[in-house]
Symmetry: C2
Subunit: 304 residues, 2 copies
């Protein structure tokens, strides 16, 4: 029986799906993270192999394998590239395509070959997609230099708004109250709370500020202002990758832009008039792209 | 002979000045940093004592001693406070006043008891001064949460502007060229340079982004835009500490706001109509405040 492999290699886990030509899911595998930026390359490669083997006993029989991976830039290192080549070879795979996580996320949401992918999780980036490949990006500088509208950014703005509230007279609103509770800071003495919140925020790795991001969902004008600015920044980032008059879909990816999130809601409102889709699962996009690779676009079936 | 002691306890060095009642400088001392936030408190106290002893053989005879110090919040720790009390006692000093670096910087620039101090070095903060004491602040959140318009902020914006330039077609301007040279990144391959600049910026402690700050002085519209935004943010921070119609001096402090700096120039232009002064040397303010403490305001003479 002909089948293909789709893999989503994330920072914390890797998932693999074996899918028959008619779309039937034959097996699923899971292993630890396989992002070669955040894991030693040998560990990333081993986790990839483990997830693929768990999805099918005989990976080498797959007609094609598409892997979506954050941190593909690392593969430009010849030693890392050679290590991954050996991994495919050991699995018996002779047709492996490594794509970015953004590319498989785009393919998971739409059959369209061209469009825009907008990602906002802990970080943020937008990509111009042409023929299902990302040909240009906007943003993606990382937390220190950018990531506007991301979970890191939302959390930082929530803490900043709380510091400003502590410096003013009057009652603390729901956002400030929620931030202080999350940080474990008592607000009885405001000067103390101000200093303590800065200390707490600086005591952990900076990206951990993203833990305050979900708090912007509280009903508070200060929170609504942060959500609005995040949505404006993310929409501007996405639109910067599009050509004048471009009429392709925009695919939203990541925890900040999920259905039901405040920021996602505002981004969808601001993009009204465009086709906007939500990508839920990159591994489904990888499996479909593998089917397109193996059987051609007309014959390829999505998993399910 | 009656004399007073003024001390400026900074992060990298501590300076002490012994000044006679008529303003004659009797002696000067210097030692390592004495900020109890960035040094172990025992080391900070020892450096303070060394600088004071070097300024005068008999510190105990001083009529008053004023110390300007960043990180005074640390002195709310009873153990640290006790350590510093012992240090004064060992020196024979019975009249010691510890103030913030902002307070001595304000006093260095003006006789006025009330006003605004605006500091922009690696970080940024503004303070409302009443009777020569800082009674409220604006900003001062530190690099992770704020420091708008500071050296850190300017450096980060310079790097961001360079990343944006690398992502566009066309020649790189003077700012981007200077940033890439400072970072040691070759721009022949722009995609590589983009990734490499992000890597270099993240390879050092974040505040080291301040090393790119001086580059905004180049003649380039991108640099001018950063300077203008920094000046707007700093002016807004300063004005937020002032009461409606307040007609007191604004004292500018720090490397970003020095005479002849681009940001300082734009801040002075935006504050036209107010009395704006530049504080050059906190130790002179500390010595004068010590004289005010010892001899009263009418009799106090500034060093010189």
């Amino acid at each position: 029986m002909k089948f293909v492999l789709g893999v989503d290699a994330g920072g914390t886990s890797t998932r693999a799906l074996a899918v028959a030509a008619d779309g039937t899911v034959l097996g699923a595998g899971r292993a630890g993270g396989a992002n070669p930026n955040s894991h030693p390359p040998a560990e990333a490669a081993a986790n990839l192999a483990a997830a693929i083997r768990a999805a099918t006993g005989v990976p080498g029989r797959a007609s094609a394998c598409v892997i979506g991976m954050a941190g593909t830039a690392k593969l430009t290192d010849p030693a890392v590239a050679a290590l991954f080549e050996r991994t495919w070879s050991d699995l018996g795979l002779d047709r492996v395509v490594v794509l970015t996580d953004a590319e498989v996320a785009f393919a998971a949401a739409t059959d369209a070959p061209d469009g825009t992918v907008l990602i906002a999780g802990t970080g943020s980036i937008a990509g111009r997609i042409r023929k299902r490949r990302m040909v240009a990006t906007e943003g993606g500088y990382g937390w220190l230099l950018g990531d506007e509208g991301s979970g890191f950014w939302l959390g930082r703005e929530a803490v900043r708004a709380t510091l400003a509230a502590l410096g003013r007279d009057g009652d603390l609103g729901p956002l400030a109250t929620a931030v202080l509770a999350e940080a474990g800071v008592d607000a009885t003495d405001r000067k103390y709370a101000w200093r303590r919140l800065i200390t707490v925020a600086n005591a952990e790795p900076p990206v951990r500020l993203a833990r305050f991001a979900p708090l912007v969902a509280v009903d508070d004008p200060a929170a609504a202002d942060i959500v609005e600015r995040a949505a404006d920044l993310l929409v501007a980032t996405a639109l910067a990758t599009r050509e004048p008059g471009e009429d392709t879909p925009v695919v939203l990816v990541g925890s900040v832009l999920g259905d039901g999130t405040r920021v996602g809601e505002r981004v969808r409102a601001k993009l009204a008039g465009l086709e906007v889709r939500t990508s839920s699962d990159g591994v489904l996009g990888a499996a479909w792209l593998a089917a397109v690779e193996a059987f051609g676009e007309a014959a390829a079936r999505r998993p399910g």
